[in-house]
Symmetry: C2
Subunit: 403 residues, 2 copies
Amino acid sequence: MREDPDRLRFEITARDGAARAGVLHTAHGPVTTPAFIPLATRATVRSLDAPEVESLGYELVLGNTFHLLLAPGPDRIAALGGLHEFMGWRRAIITDSGGFQIFSLAHGRVADEIKGRRGQRESDGRVLEVTENGVRFRSYVDGTERFLGPAESMGVQAALGSDIALVLDECTPYHADRSYTARSTERTHRWLDRCLEWHERSGPPGQAVFGIVQGGVHEDLRRKSAQRVAAAEIDGLAIGGTLGRDKPEMYGVLDMTLPHLPDDAPKHLLGVGEPDDLMEGIRRGIDVFDCAVPTRLARHGMALAPLPGQRFRFDVRRPAYAEDTAPLVEGCPCPTCRGHTRAYLHYLSRAEELTGARLMAVHNLTFVERLVAEAREAIAAGAYERYARAVLGGAAPWGAPGR
Amino acid sequence: MREDPDRLRFEITARDGAARAGVLHTAHGPVTTPAFIPLATRATVRSLDAPEVESLGYELVLGNTFHLLLAPGPDRIAALGGLHEFMGWRRAIITDSGGFQIFSLAHGRVADEIKGRRGQRESDGRVLEVTENGVRFRSYVDGTERFLGPAESMGVQAALGSDIALVLDECTPYHADRSYTARSTERTHRWLDRCLEWHERSGPPGQAVFGIVQGGVHEDLRRKSAQRVAAAEIDGLAIGGTLGRDKPEMYGVLDMTLPHLPDDAPKHLLGVGEPDDLMEGIRRGIDVFDCAVPTRLARHGMALAPLPGQRFRFDVRRPAYAEDTAPLVEGCPCPTCRGHTRAYLHYLSRAEELTGARLMAVHNLTFVERLVAEAREAIAAGAYERYARAVLGGAAPWGAPGR
């Protein structure tokens, strides 16, 4: 770890057990933590423009190096003043390394794993070769051959001008065996060093870099990786890779990893953000989370709701909601719930109207923002356990005790 | 014509040649005219929710009887309190009769005509039979057989609870010969009577009814239809049917029709609303226009702009705009132009991101709203001709003289 307040300063303002509330001071303003990070995959949080995302209470979004590399390309975004300027977003941006998407092409997606499908998805381009230097792959946009290694990933993120860059890593899949995971984690560590060397020489002055801990579900690999990454000259830590087959295993991976990370460093749990995961992660000391779930569910008519027995969601397209004049979630402060009924959203979602996907995204992002905002309050009040238990038991975040 | 201020009162507040500015007093508030009516085809102006449409300055939207009949169905919308309540729109609504969509299935669309294709489009359901009583057709939603006649159309519009209903008519296509058009126009007149009989007995108290003038491009048929429709107990007039193969012919049809309509009645030009058509229609005394163009163009990356040589539009997906940091239209007051560059919209539109379609819709609807709002000002100032000439010559509505 290094401490360079010109790049990033993490201020912990309250603690409650292992949970903490804080402020991540970035080059584009403060981010209060615990925070959820909406995905602005292709320079937009799908269906919302930047002022709207800010109006929902968000201070940090995640841009995708892989997608932005392929179109419109880092040179164009740099020529247009960087990603903030390009998308009209004046708050903080974190960019991923592109590794997750590329290795998803190679390994198959998590959903494929769980369903027993593996290997490449034809529609998404192809990985041609993975070597010590990086990954050769074919663009899904125009079919051209591309290469992404540690320097290339950091170069793209420098061109995008994000406030926080993530180092290139291999996100090992659940089906990888221990030996593959061990070798892959070692390579990820070598890539970490090469990313930091590149960034030391050529990175933009105000950009922070987070290292990524890998090691699969193996306690010794996770411990070694945690210690190795924490020893590097990074500004913060991310936890990546497979987190297990189910939620108990995911929380177990956190429990075997977090004790080996410096307490006062900001910690990002990559690709995780369902309501129960937020509660469990915050309880263990995670500060920021990114996840596709709120926006992706919205496009499929799924609303987030305080329903622990139903994975905190329901499908508004179900016939039961066709004449239901209640809002998606009673008491929700979002414009969707204040202005529209389940019956209307049922109709719009079934008709696949853009307005439906958008109104659902506004609700889901509000629900998740409320979950973390109220968690911050609860931590400050020393009542986080009561709050988390209430939410996990089915209380709405704005109605849960502990605020 | 009838005059029933409980259903609709049209107040002309200023005149300038044949052009006039006024207020249409509906059961859901005033609509200042000349007005453009955005299409809320399936209970939403695509990608916008009701408060957003109102914030763009609109006081009247058009709901589609055909689409809402098939899903969610008039009974459900009635059970949910009517179309206003269903879609959360508190201002005025006009509903079409469903005839245009159904006869498009039978006759082929205008685009098909122009390109020499005729007949049914397979994906959109099928017309099974057209008789004196109405049209039997197959639903594109679930394949069931449906029937729409004068009583059925008025029944659906009564259930929707629109402020203004349109009578059922056959929109005769351009390729129909004089003899077919004459017979069709006669049937449309008989349907007018049946619609009014039904509405007299069973229509909602506050709902106004507009009759529709047909007659193709034939001067005597248009004159007879204008006189026949104007003699009926209606609250306003709409001009429908084919308006010719090109714009001069369309304006010619208006010139052969308008002199035979009562001057002080509100007049709706159906399905027309490109910028030059708005200027030419207002000049001749048209009060309201509806058109799919602003929202449909938006979904294809086309921006409305003061470019008379390019049909008042440009394609932001063209390579020329990839690094263009100007707004879509310099000086445009819309949130899209105030917050985003052509380069960003170029990228979003090419990537087919929902945010792109939405930002383009906000711009296009603002551009059209400004065209009619400034026309109202110009009429009040006795400077409409100067304003219209400036707009037709390429002035932006907010920069045109005559305001």
